[in-house]
């Protein structure tokens, strides 16, 4: 008895220590970049490092968002992320519903589902060269639309699988009842299934927003100027061979994290499902 109590206490201590260490390791880097964004250059470069910004300033935010076009980058990121999300969500919801509900001959439903997932396995670098040349040919390089189209290729499989998993969780009887009452199949989808899947839709949308907001490689190749460049590209542009503008990139990098933090709190209940393409239900 005493022995098991002792082991229970030691287990609790171990858990508390693990939580404390994990929290420090998780939060310190985030705190560090945030703190540095509010320091004067001299304090960023100080040795030993200044652990807390004793002399806070908004200088770097001013430099990034007023003097340099980071506001434009942010706006581009936002427009591209929203457009991608809308396209992926509309197409993905319909396809996800079809794969969750309809009957297809033979093994087709399984084959199509798997094929859609497998397109997501393609490393982005593989598709980017032909897309670059195609957009070049269509005179669409350095436009937001080119980025939106490329991002859709990566968000659509995700949206399809997520929505498929949410629709599979809905009881089919409600749609049947609506159809018995004279609604069409499409009407049952639109007026019964879709409203019931609203939490799933919201979660899928937020995940698409996050994926597009964070993406770097495709935007790096498809965009050239501030007309279409996104926030990550703007940040990378201030890390040059000769100089790294620490204050500016800290300010822009921390700013880029803020909407993501808010989103993470909003979708926390759906996080597991979203991260596993609907395979694991948290």
């Amino acid at each position: 008895m005493t022995r098991s109590r002792a082991s229970l206490i030691s287990q609790r201590i171990a858990a508390a220590v693990a939580i404390a260490v994990a929290l420090i390791l998780t939060l310190f880097p985030v705190y560090w970049i945030a703190g540095n964004s509010f320091k004067f250059d001299i304090d960023i470069f100080s040795v030993p490092p200044q652990w807390f910004p004793a002399n806070p300033t908004l200088k770097h935010y001013n430099a990034a968002f007023i003097e340099r076009p980071f506001l434009q980058y942010g706006l581009n990121s936002l427009i591209i992320a929203m457009a991608t999300t809308i396209v992926s969500l509309v197409l993905g919801t319909m396809a996800g519903y079809a794969l969750a509900r309809f009957k297809y001959p033979g093994q087709w439903r399984y084959q199509i589902s798997f094929w859609i997932l497998s397109t997501r396995m393609m490393p982005p670098i593989v598709t980017i060269i032909p897309l670059y040349l195609a957009f070049n040919y269509l005179d669409m390089l350095n436009t937001k639309w080119a980025v939106v189209i490329a991002y859709t290729a990566f968000n659509l499989p995700f949206a399809t699988w997520m929505m498929k998993s949410y629709f599979q969780d809905l009881p089919v009887e409600l749609e049947e009842a609506a159809m018995v009452d004279g609604d069409t199949r499409w009407g049952a989808f639109l007026r019964v299934a879709l409203p019931l899947a609203r939490p799933g839709l919201a979660a899928t949308a937020i995940f698409c927003l996050i994926i597009s907001w964070n993406e770097f490689l495709l935007a790096l190749i498809l965009t050239l100027t501030e007309r279409s460049q996104t926030l990550p590209i703007g940040i990378a542009g201030r890390v040059t061979q000769y100089n790294t503008y620490w204050g500016e990139i800290s300010a822009a990098g921390f700013t880029a994290c803020i909407p993501i933090m808010i989103f993470a709190f909003v979708v926390q209940k759906h996080l597991v499902r979203g991260l596993s393409f609907g395979a694991v239900k948290g």
């Binding site: 858990a15 693990a18 490329a150 290729a153 049947e176």
Partner: protein
Amino acid sequence: MTAELPIARTAQAVSGPALERWSERHLRVLMLMPAMLVLLALTIFPSIYMFAAATTRISPNPDVPWEFAGADNFLRLLTDDQFHIALWNTLVFTFFAVSIEFLLGLGLALLLDRYIRRLNFLKTILMLPMMMPPIAVAITWKLIYEPQFGVLNEIMFQLGLPLQAWAGDVDLAMFSIIVADVWQWTPFVFLLMLAGLSSLPEEPYEAAAIDGASAWRQFWDLTLPFLKPVIAIALLLRMMDALRLFDLVFILTGGGPADRTKTLSLYIYQVAYRFADPSYAAAISLFVLFATVAFSTWFIKRMRLAT
């Protein structure tokens, strides 16, 4: 699993106008088609194009027509040291990063499973790194690794250990990249494992406790087999991501020093845009594509994930 609905047995579908009746009858195709067409255009077209490009010599001068090159570009893969280095680096990175993330994530989940369910807000805080833009993660670690005024060297100094160049050091660069990746993605494995643990049935454990099975035996014979599907998904998604690593190395090391952190994605980028050799880049890309898809498919079938 899913009930199938009769399609044409509704009142309006029978009595509605012809177009509506037609679209109602073909709804299962019409709802699926747009997504499939978009995906076909965005993945199959590039794949075919890549194959065409890889078997030709493309001149930088757009007026010179493409010249058929057969398997030349693929044969180059066999003798290109840079490619072998990039392949090796990618495999080393994937192996170590995913293993460490898996062990840490699973260990933490087992340790905290009982406590963290009541501390939901804590879970959300621990999730932050993987939601952050990879570029923000990269500059954060660049700042921490900075040899002159970085915080890591300050800690080394306080501990009386030798200062290091970290991402700039030939021997530590890959290690530095792995640490940054582990920082960002361990929460992902942790979260998935917690979800798996919370869905474990209780009866087998009660039976095992009555039989006097040790905690270790319970873990080995019950927990691990029950977790297997979740573990397989976590590993698959992490490996797919790790094999395409680009952002972190692009910012932290640029592939250096001495090519120690050059990954396949970075090498393709360099070949295509710095060396302006799209044909060869296409050949490497096809290799990567084939290897990734073959591996993922094998893994999914092996783990019986697709159901």
